[in-house]
Structure formats: C-alpha cells, structure tokens
C-alpha cells in the first residue's frame, strides 16, 4: 500500500518500501539485448521510414545503433533469446482472446452508459486479491489486461502481486482473477 | 615664434594653466604645503602669461587661436582682444592675491576640505579666463558653465544646512540662467549662423527675417542668462552666497563670477548686438532702466544691513548695475567707464572683502554694530577698508573716481540726464551705507570686556587665552594682511596711473573698435 | 472545405482559453492549457500547417504542459482567481 510507505519510521535502516531493483542504474550491457533491440528498432524504422535508398538506410542504422546503445537495458533487461521468442509467440496467441474479451466487456459498459437508469445499475467497488505472479512482466501484462477490459481498472499493483481493482459493477468484477490470470500465466510460461 | 610659449599658443596656455594646477592640487592632496605652492605658482604664471599678451594685443591686434570645430561654423576658439584682456588681467592678478589670502584664511580657521577648495578655485579661474578669452558664444558658454559649477562647492563650503541651501539657490539661479543663455545662443545661431564676437555686432543682418520682437526677446534671454550680473529680479543668490568663506566671497564679487556676468552683458551688447542695433531696438533704454532700478533698490537694502558681508553684497549689486547702466548709455565714454570699472571695482571690492574676512578671522565679529573701536585695534585692515569704501563712491584720489568720471561724462555725452541723476544719487547713497562702518570703527569705543591694547600682536596675545588656534598659527596671519594692503595700494595707484597693466590702453582700444573712436 | 470542423474547434479553443484563465486551480489551469494546445494543433493540421501542428503537438501538448505541472508542483496549486 502506498500510504503505508510513510509510516512510523524511527529505527535505523528501517525498510520503508520494497521496490523492484531499478534497471536503469545497473549497467547490464549484454550483447544479446543490444542486438535484439537493434533489430527490433530497425524493423520499426523501416516501417516508419518507407525509404529504402542507401542514404536513408544508413541513417536508420545509425539511429538504431543510438537507440540500442542508449536504451537496450530498458527494453530488454535480462531475458534470454529463446524465452523471449516464446513469450512473444504466446502473447500473439493471447491477443485475439483479449480482444474478444475487450469487445464483449465494452458492449457491457456501453449498455451501462446508455441505460436510462444508469445509477441503479452501476455499483462501483474495489476488489482486492493476490495473484501468483512474481515476474514483473506478467504482473504488468495482467494489470493492463484488467484495465483494458472495461468495467475494471487496476488501482495498484505491488511487486509481490497484490492487486486492487476498481470495478464498475458486480458483473465486471466477478471473473477476476479467474481465466485471465491463467492465460497470462501461460504466456510467461509460469 | 615657435614653441609652447609662442604668441599663438598663449591663449591656450592661459587656459591650460589652471587645469594643470587644479589636477596637481588634486594629486598632492595629502601635502598641504605642496598643494598651496602649486596654487601660488599657477596664479603667478597665469598672471605673467596674461599680461605678456597685452603689449602684443596693443601692438598687433587680437590674437586668434582656434583649437577644434565644435559645431558647424562654431569653433572652440580663443580671440584675445583688448576687452577680454582687461577682464583676464584683472582676474588673473587678483587670483594671486586671493590665493595668498586664502592660505592665511584657511589655515587660520583650520577649514576642512581644503583640497577641494583649492581645486575648485583653480577651476573657477579657468572659467573666468576662458570667458575672457573665448571668441564666440558657445566657447563662452562652456566656460560660463564651468565657472558656475566649480563655484558651487565653494559657496556651500561650510556644509551647514544654510550653506547648502545657499549653494542650491546659487545653482538654481545661475544654471536656470544658463538655460536662457543657451536659448539665446541657439536663437543667435539660427538667425545668423554664427556666434563669433564682432566689434560691430553680428545680429544686425537678422533684423530683416526676424522681427524686432524676436530680437528683443532674445536679448532678454541673454540678460537672464547673465544672472551672474545680479541685476535686480535675479540678484537674490548673491546675498545668500555670502555664507561662503571670505576668499570665496571675494572671488564671487570681485574676481570672477559677477564680473563674468557683466563682462558677458557687455559682450552681448557691444559684440553681438552692436551699438546701432541696440539703439534701433531701444534695448539700451530698457537695460538702463533695469540697472537704475537695481541701483536704487540695492542701495536702500544696503543701508539697512547690519551684517558687513551682506552689506557688501548689496554694494556689489549696486556697483554691477552701475556698470550695466554705463553700458546701456551706449556712448563711448560710458562704455569705457564701464570697462574700467570692471577692473577698478574688482580691486576695491576685494579690498573690502579681504578686510571683512580679516575682521571675522581675527575678532570673530560679523555685525557692523560690534565693530566699535576696531579701527584702533587693526589699523592696517581698517585703513584699507576706508580706502575701499571711499573708492566705492568715487572719491578723487581713488580708482573709483576715474571710472565714475568716465561714466558721468558718457551720460552727458549721450544726453541721458535722468540716468546721470540716478548715478549721482547712487554714489551719494554709497556714502550713506558705508558711514556706520567707518563711524563705528574709528569713532566708536570698544566694549570694556573685549578691550584690545596696542597693535595686532598684542591683541593676539590677549585672545590666546580664549582662542588657541590664532596663537599657534600666528605667522600665517600675514598672509591675510599683505594681500589686502596690496589691493588697497593698487586702488590708489589706479587713480594716479590708470594705465597700470595697460588697462587704460586696452580699454581705449576696445572702445575704438566698438565706436571707432572715443 | 471543412469550415464546420474548424468552426467547432475554434469555438473550443475559445472555451478552453477562457477556462484556462478562470479555473480556480493552477493544476487544472495547466491541464486545460494543455488541452488548448491540443486544439491549436488540430486547428493547424486542418489549415494544412503540418509542421506547425507537429511542433505544437510536441511542444504544447507535451513539454509545456509538463513544465506547467512541474512549476505548479514546485509552487502551489491554490489561487485566488
């Protein structure tokens, strides 16, 4: 809970809050992530640029090198190559389901919004639960999936997997964590 | 002749000398002896330079010296003509005496800020000499302003609130006048495109394009500009400036400031407007009326004064207007008298002031009613005072007689009998206000408590119990006595030998230039 | 060709402008000013000034709003008017 971070702090060296180790100042410059970042950014560059003459390509290479040099540790902090590809493939498999869920839930919210007696239908409330994830990335994907699914918004996530979700009515809040958690766990191979 | 002391460079060196002296004074501010010797040296050199020019001017005519171009058709130039030389000689010769006197006065009173005093004094002399020698109005204006500004710290030297307010009054009158002077110069420049002095006037060509009224207004601008001449509505700075130390008053009244004023008026009347134009515009009459009014009123003021210095101030106003009236008569004799009176009045008035200063410095008295019996205590001083006072109303063996005589002749010459009467009345009133002083000093009795015995030395002995400083600084007391004795002597000499320092010749030459003959 | 859109957006610009200076909360004013910049950006895109729109999008929407918020963060939010 964020509010607890300013508790009664007297003893020397008391732990105030546990936070993820910041990737930014640990100079883990691995070659793999550098190359991967370079390749990824170069693909995006080609999409953006749309010019395939030598001059622009070389500009692109220089730009991608700069990006890879400066932010490889941001984009891909620690994953192994094989793992990464698997995750991506699974993520793409996950997307249609997510889109479908979003669409369904959207219709629900539309119904709520356009209903003349809206105030009686909605019943906002905060749901708290603990998920089984420990990996940041899966926490993140799960949290964003929850937010994307209308009717629910992630209020906060902690590193150890505590979630608080705001739901607009009972129906939206009920399925959590449920199926979605399972699918996200599948992606990350947990 | 070549070199720095060639004839053509003498005007320049006359102007540069005070500047050099001023800065030498400033540099040697920690060493009083050195500082004062610079002053003396400078004044002597200046006098030599100026007086060395008069034979040349008399023989070969004016010395021209152009330095650089200030404005189109206006150069920063000097033109040493006879009239200018009269004024220059007067002021430079008096500087020597005033410097001597200052040393005595300042040291005996242990005045503060002496460096500033000598510095400003030198600059004031620069102003006076510059005014005398300048060849056009703009150059004159430069020096006129220098004179005004450099005398301001002198007037307020005492640094008391009254002194400072007197200084402010002084500045306000003179710089305010300076503004009008500037307008006059501007109008002159606009009308005729030049401001060079010419013995026949330069403004007469302007009569066509510009109306008479314009020229008359311009004349009054000039007249206001020369508020230094202390004619009556703009005189009140002069009595209040009396708060200054006596040598400064001497400088103001006798040497530089007021003389610069009347000098300027004469320059305007004779060299800018010219006699003919003055007559045509009827300005002579106007000027004479103002001056006549001033003479009468100033005399009446003077009679009522109890403070000696204030009385002398009104006396000065009166005498200055006498010069103005003489000029305004526009006859050769009168103008010659006016020019002579500049010099003669300078010498006589300085005598009076130095006496007044000596009285104050020694006895600490300022009011005339307290002067009883001083004549016996300070015989030299009071004799000199007597000479000065009689000179003022033109008693025969004294210098004032010569100039007054010329003026009276001039008045007759021009047929202005009204003004003749006023001149005479003025002279008589002079006697009236000097009487109390003379009577008090020579016939009054000193009060019991302050009885002085014997001559000056004994007096100093007596006072030594009360005032310590007089005793300790006794030798410099002579610095005060000697100058006033010298001036008193000169007041007599000028009557007997009017051509001392070639003054008379120079005046005659000037008048000849203006009128083409006496 | 599309003056109607322009008309609406110009009206919005005025509303946002007035809003930004009347809101009694500096943070709100900053946010509304950001929205004002959005509208300006849109307006310029409609008028065909793409480069200006781009600049306004990056400057007005992004940087200047952030600057405002930083400044409000470092000073105070309350205001009398």
């Amino acid at each position: 809970m964020p509010d607890q971070s300013r508790g009664n702090l007297n003893s020397e060296g008391q732990i105030l809050a546990k936070d993820s180790p910041s990737p930014s100042n640990q100079k883990r410059k691995s070659l793999t992530s550098f190359i991967l970042t370079f390749l990824a950014s170069f693909v995006i560059w080609l999409i953006l640029s749309g010019k395939f003459d030598l001059f622009h390509i070389s500009l692109g290479i220089i730009s991608c090198l700069i990006v890879a040099y400066t932010s490889a540790d941001l984009l891909l902090p620690q994953q192994k190559l094989g793992h990464l590809i698997k995750v991506w493939l699974r993520f793409i498999r996950y997307l249609p389901w997510l889109l479908y869920q979003i669409f369904i839930a959207n219709l629900h919210v539309m119904y709520l919004v356009l209903h003349p007696r809206m105030n009686q239908l909605i019943a906002p409330g905060i749901i708290r639960f603990k998920s089984k994830f420990s990996d940041e990335m899966s926490l993140f994907i799960f949290a964003n999936s929850i937010t994307l699914t209308p009717g629910t918004i992630t209020v906060y996530v902690t590193v150890d997997g505590n979630y608080a979700v705001h739901a607009i009515d009972r129906k939206s809040g009920e399925p959590l964590p449920g199926e979605m958690e399972q699918r996200v766990a599948n992606i990350m191979g947990e | 002749m070549t070199g720095m002391f060639g004839i053509e460079y003498r005007p320049l060196s006359a102007v540069l000398l005070p500047i050099i002296v001023a800065f030498l004074i400033l540099l040697s501010n920690k060493r009083p002896n050195l500082r004062e010797s610079w002053t003396l040296l400078g004044s002597v050199l200046l006098f030599l330079t100026v007086s060395s020019m008069s034979p040349i001017v008399l023989a070969e005519g004016p010395i021209q010296w152009t330095w650089f171009n200030l404005l189109p058709n206006i150069d920063f130039a000097f033109n040493v003509d006879a009239f200018g030389l009269v004024f220059a000689t007067t002021s430079s010769s008096l500087w020597i005496l005033v410097s001597l006197y200052s040393i005595g006065y300042m040291r005996s009173l242990k005045e503060h800020a002496q460096t500033r005093y000598y510095f400003c004094f030198a600059l004031a002399l620069l102003g006076a000499i510059g005014i005398a020698l300048s060849s056009n109005l703009v150059t004159m204006f430069v020096f006129y302003e220098i004179l005004t500004l450099s005398t301001y710290p002198l007037v307020a030297h005492e640094e008391s609130p009254e002194a400072i307010s007197a200084g402010h009054k002084y500045l306000a009158y003179l710089l305010g006048g300076g503004v009008f002077f500037l307008i006059g110069i501007l109008m002159t420049y606009l009308l005729v495109g030049t401001t060079d002095f010419n013995a026949h006037g330069i403004l007469s060509p302007a009569l066509g394009p510009a109306s008479k009224l314009t020229l008359q207004v311009v004349f009054f601008c000039f007249l206001l500009g020369f508020a230094k001449a202390a004619w009556m509505p703009v005189h009140s700075w002069l009595p209040s400036a009396m708060i200054a130390p006596t040598p400064v008053s001497a400088l103001l009244h006798a040497v530089a400031v007021v003389k610069a004023g009347v000098f300027g008026v004469i320059r305007i009347v004779c060299y800018i407007y010219g006699i003919d134009l003055m007559q045509e515009l009827g300005l002579g009459l106007a000027l004479a009326s103002i001056a006549a009014f001033t003479i009468v009123v100033a005399n009446l003021y003077a009679i009522g004064q109890d403070n000696l210095k204030r009385m002398l101030a009104y006396s000065t106003i009166n005498q200055l207007s006498f010069i103005l009236i003489a000029v305004a008569l526009l006859s050769p004799m009168a103008v010659a008298g006016a020019m002579l009176h500049i010099t003669f009045h300078g010498f006589m008035k300085i005598t009076l002031f130095l006496c007044a200063g000596a009285i104050t410095a020694i006895s600490g008295k300022k009011a005339i009613s307290e002067f009883k019996g001083l004549g016996r205590a300070m015989p030299i001083t009071m004799t000199a005072f007597l000479i000065g006072a009689f000179g003022m109303f033109g008693a025969p063996p004294l210098a004032g007689f010569i100039s007054k005589w010329h003026v009276v002749l001039g008045a007759v010459q021009s047929g202005q009998l009204v003004f003749l009467t006023i001149i005479l009345i003025g002279s008589i009133l002079d006697v009236v206000y000097f009487c109390p002083v003379i009577i008090n000093t020579f016939f009054g009795k000193m009060p019991e408590t302050e009885t002085l015995k014997g001559d000056l030395e004994e007096k100093v002995e007596v006072y030594s119990e009360k005032v310590e400083r007089l005793e300790t600084k006794r030798p410099i007391y002579y610095f005060m006595i000697i100058p006033l004795a010298i001036t008193a002597v000169f007041s007599i000499i000028f009557c007997i030998l009017p051509n001392t320092f070639s003054i008379y010749d120079l005046v005659q030459m000037a008048v000849k230039d203006i009128f083409g003959g006496m | 060709m599309n003056w109607q859109i322009e008309f609406i957006i110009l009206t919005m610009v005025i509303i946002l402008g007035i809003g930004a200076i009347t809101v009694k909360d500096l943070l709100g004013a900053g946010i509304l000013f950001g929205a004002y910049s959005f509208m300006m950006c849109l307006l310029w895109a409609i008028m065909g000034a793409v480069d200006v729109a781009f600049t306004e999008a990056s400057v007005g929407a992004g940087v200047s709003t952030v600057f405002f918020i930083s400044a409000v963060f470092r000073t105070t939010r309350g205001t009398k008017d």
Binding site: S20, P21, S24, N25, T158 | - | F67
Partner: protein
C-alpha cells in the same frame, strides 16, 4: 484596474478589427502574401535544395539564419533556467533516505547515523519520495526506446515529411522526461547527467553555427550550404540537402538538451533531487 484593463483590451480589439477590414479575403490564392515571396520557395525548393518539404527548406536554408537564432533562443532559455534555479548547496537534513539498489529496499538513516556514499549500491532519496508504480514504470521502459527511435526518424526525415530537428529534439526530450517521471529524476540524471545535457545544448548550437562557419571558411557566405559541396564531393544542390540535415541534427541535439535541462531544473526547483 479591471475596468481600466477592459478598456484597453476593448480599444486594442477595436483597433485590430479596424485593421482587419482591409485584409485580403481569407484563404485567397491571389492575396499578396501568397503571391509575392512564397511562390519562389514553392517552385524552387526542389531545384535549389532537393528537399520536398518546403517548410524545412525555408526553415533551414532560405531563412536558416532565423532558425539558427531560434535555436539560440531555446539555448538561452536553457541557460537561463539553469542560471535562475540551480542551487548547489544542499541542506543536510534532507539527505536521510537512501535506496539500496540491489535489493530495492529504501532505508532511512537516523539522525547521527552514518550516511552511505552515493555509489552503485546506495542512492539518495528525498523526503518526498513515494514508491513508483510498477505499471507506469514498465510501460515507460517499453515505450521510451520506441519514442526515441521515432524522434530520430522525425529528425532524419524532416526533408520528406513534417518534422525536423526541433520536433525530434522535443520528442527525445519528452522521452527523457517520461523516463524521469516514471522512475525518478535521479535515475534520469544518472542516464543523462546535467553536464551532459548542457553539453548537448552547446554542441547542438555549435553544430548549427559551425556548419555556417564552415561554409564561411569554404569561401561562400555564412550558412550558404552550397559551399559544403567542396568537402562532400557532391553537387551544390545535394550539398544543400545534406547541410540542412546537419543543421537539423544540430537543432535536435540542442533542443533535446535544453528541454531535458529545463525539466531537471524546473521539476526539482534546481536541487536535482526527486523531481516530479
């Protein structure tokens, strides 16, 4: 005061409306503004500079001097913010919270306790510190490289599409700001130190002005990129195009540095601590 201001405002409005009445019709192709100078730019941009984006060619070449000083304006702003806000002294009572990077634990050191050095392991945290949201952090981690790439693309393709040095520079700066917001200012400063940002400000302007000076040294007028043909071994038109690119890169670097520098100083009021 209000009434007075209202009067002035209404007077100004009246004056402006008065002036508006003589305007040429709105969006008129025949108006003087569209027929006097600007057609030259439109018709000659390809043959003079081979840059299709007329705005870029006018900005960086025809009126390149303007743009140079536009860069200087922003440089001035950066230096001015630094000059106004930066404080180097720090009160000691503030330096009590520390972040242990390896474990991600935040510590508070009691009064009199030994303060750890700022090092790889420990980092000072300020009293206003609050834990940063995981979601925001990861999102920013993912999109910052993308934004930077996009910004570089914008700079590099200023010739052909809208954008250019200024916009690109601002977007890179925005990426840095995003990073600073999602983590904290110290993390951002560790990536791009203040001195580095200042150096970028100067370097960007230096590239621009240096290009101009190079042209001067090569014998043509200041900022006449045609002179660069001598060292690029191309024809003057291509040289101009490349000159424009160089200039845009300069602008981009400078603007990035300035935006970052201003943000650093504004968000922490010059103390360079926690920031927004």
């Amino acid at each position: 005061m209000k009434a007075f201001a209202l009067i002035i405002v209404i007077l100004c409005a009246g004056l402006l409306i008065y002036g508006t009445s003589d305007f040429p019709p709105w969006s008129d192709p025949e108006s003087p503004a569209s027929t006097h100078v600007s057609p030259y730019y439109i018709e000659h941009t390809i043959e003079d500079t081979s840059v299709p984006n007329i705005v870029t060619s006018v900005l960086a070449d025809y009126r390149g001097f303007d743009t140079m000083f536009e860069t200087i304006v922003i440089f001035t702003a950066g230096i001015a913010c630094f000059f106004l806000l930066r404080v180097t002294k720090r009160e000691d009572h503030e330096s009590r919270l520390y972040h242990h990077l390896v474990t991600g634990v935040t510590l508070r050191i009691k009064e009199g306790g030994k303060l750890p050095d700022e090092s790889e392991e420990f980092r000072r945290v300020d009293t206003e510190w609050v834990p940063y949201s995981l979601i925001i952090k990861i999102t920013c981690r993912l999109i910052v490289p993308f934004i930077m790439l996009f910004a570089l693309y914008v700079i590099a393709h200023g010739h052909h599409s809208p954008g250019g040095g200024f916009q690109g520079g601002v977007i890179i700066g925005a990426a840095m700001i995003l990073f600073a917001i999602s983590n904290d200012l110290r993390a951002a400063i560790l990536r791009l130190s203040e001195k580095m940002a200042t150096f970028f400000c100067s370097a960007g302007v230096f590239i621009y002005a240096g290009t101009g000076l190079l042209c001067l040294l090569l014998g043509l007028n200041f900022l006449d990129y045609g002179a660069l043909a001598k060292i690029l071994f191309t024809d003057p038109v291509t040289a101009r195009s490349h000159g424009i690119l160089a200039v845009e890169i300069g602008v981009g670097i400078a603007v990035m540095g300035v935006v970052v520098s201003i943000y650093y100083n504004l968000s922490s009021a010059g103390k360079h601590d926690e920031g927004l």
